[in-house]
Amino acid sequence: MSEPLVRWLALGLYGLSLAGFLVFLVRRNQKAGLTAHRLIGLGFLFQSLSWLIRTIGLGQLPVLNLGEALGFFGWCLVGVYLILYRRFRLLVLGAFLSPLAVAAVLAGLIFPGKPLIVGPVYRSLWLTFHLGAVFAGYGFFALAFVIGVMYLIQERQIKSRRPGPVYHRLPSLNVLDQINYYCLAVGFPLMTLGIVSGALYAQAALGRYWRWDPKEVWSLILWLVYAALLHQRLTVGWRGRRAAVMSIIGFSILCFTFLGVSLLLPGYHSFESLQRLQTP
């Protein structure tokens, strides 16, 4: 089986699972939900296989152009969902997350990615680690965002004092808040590791820890926002609505850092220069 086929297969499974989750949500069909969950797990296996094949082929995680980065982001989303499911057993989360995952993976497949030529400077375990940690952090923050949206919807339902059908399908505010905290508590150290390992690698490969290029600046802002949220939560008890809103703000900064900076602002992190920068 050729590798692109595996990726399309994974996308197809994600699409099916999205449909299953919709049936689960609208018709309250538990079986449809469980099937959708299994489908998304199977899709994840296929997508993992495709990453494995390409990583071995290239000698490096192939996330150096936009399409690949989006696909990898989608993979991280689903991975984090599967981790959260093991802990919280929340199928509804799949219903809210699968559209995002499908969109990311689909965008990753249709965006024209230039063929990857990886220079020796990128063939490093450090770089793989840097990318892996940053993207895993992104995955957890994205889930915190999804959970934040669910929280706001459910809170609105309860505050309105006229709870509708959505109210019965969403979990309790407390559970949502706990998952939000869990995502922050895991995502933040990952993000930190990602930034630190990137800096160390930059020093080793390019001779400087930190160059203040736009990606680095925005990552720092992102890091500070989540640090502030985590700090306020632990000391003053910023929970519930405020934590949900902050997670959503954090995620919009994340999107800008991930897509906006890489596409709009010049810098050695942008996909353009990543392609050019083949030798230091």
Binding site: I158, R162, H168, S172, L173, G237, R239, G240
Partner: protein, 436 residues
Amino acid sequence: MNIILIGLNHNTAPVEIREKLALNGCGPAEAYHEIKTLSSLRECIYFSTCNRVEFLATTEAVDRAVKDIKAFLAAQRGLPPALFERCLYIHQAEKTVRHLFRVASSLDSMVVGEPQILGQLKEAFRAAVDHRATGAILNKLMHKSFSVAKRVRSETGIASHAVSVGYAAVELARKIFGELEGREVLLIGAGEMAELAAEHLLNHGVSRITAANRTLDRALALARRWGGRAAALEEIPALLAEVDIVISSTGAPELVVTAAAVRSVLRARKHRPLFFVDIAVPRDVDPDVNRLDNVYLYDIDDLRGVIEENRAARAEEALRAERIVEEETIKFLGWLHTLEVVPTIVAMKEKVERIRRAELDKTLARMGPLPPDQVQALEVMTEALTRKILHDPISFIKRAGRREKKDFYLDLTRRVFNLDAEPSASGEPNGQENDE
């Protein structure tokens, strides 16, 4: 064999009649002892709850059975039959099955979807089995009704929406706090609805109830009842910093909890959620507290609104439940039909003939061309063989058809000959390799 159901329920009989007919006075031992003397009934189960009295029975003679049961009811309670006869419904066959499935699934209950009825049915069934009043048909029917009820519960949302103030409060609390274990409740004032709500919360895991009241005696009495603590009204502002759920139901004309009082404790609470249930009229809790972050307030009208919507949701789910009941009724009637003698004999003959044909064809094919008279001889021989093998089983079930335990024997025979298996599996016997 006919299945019949005679009874009355909250729709057909007023409480004055239901309470007179309820059989909970005498134990099931006496009742079943009496019932078993009624020669017209093969099997019988009765249920008696505060909303219904019903007899489910199998009989050969429907009219006599109906008359016997009416006479039994009248004699038991010493009532003239004319008093309750108007209220009785009498179902037969399909209608009986459907009715029972609807009762078990709580579609026939006063509050649709309340699950108590299933437990009551199970208990009634156990009593009937203990007194050997049931047989193959009712056993199967009752078990089926339990599984239908289970299916309805898991495949529809019929029981998942609260339809009382107390449960609506619990449901909301659980949507805010998740599990209620370890949460604390403050009950301000007293009153039936408030106390009921507090009790529901306690049953769902709330760890402690504090009762605050204008008169300390009353507070102490309530606290003792739930093993909680008592407090005076003046302590409320301090208590607001500790508790998670506040139920308020005082007769006070002015606000008991102000928004300012709540706002001042938010920081001390570290913004943990706080849920107010205000049952009092005029209201006790400042409506503005609902505007505060992580504070939720429902007054009595809000709760009634929630219940109203839940009722509508249940009615909608009930429609889906009716479809399940219909489906299962048809399935059960299919099984019932197989318990007649003739279809069973036909099925046995067909099955054996199928096997004979298949084996004979196989043998003839293997032996190559034979003269017609030899083929004829083989046909005659195998036919005689199968006829003689079937002779005893067939005369056995023909005799069984006149016996008291006919259904049991028929069911057994069908299982021994594997007559109800899927058509694809029935033709080919499993022992192919033994032929060689």
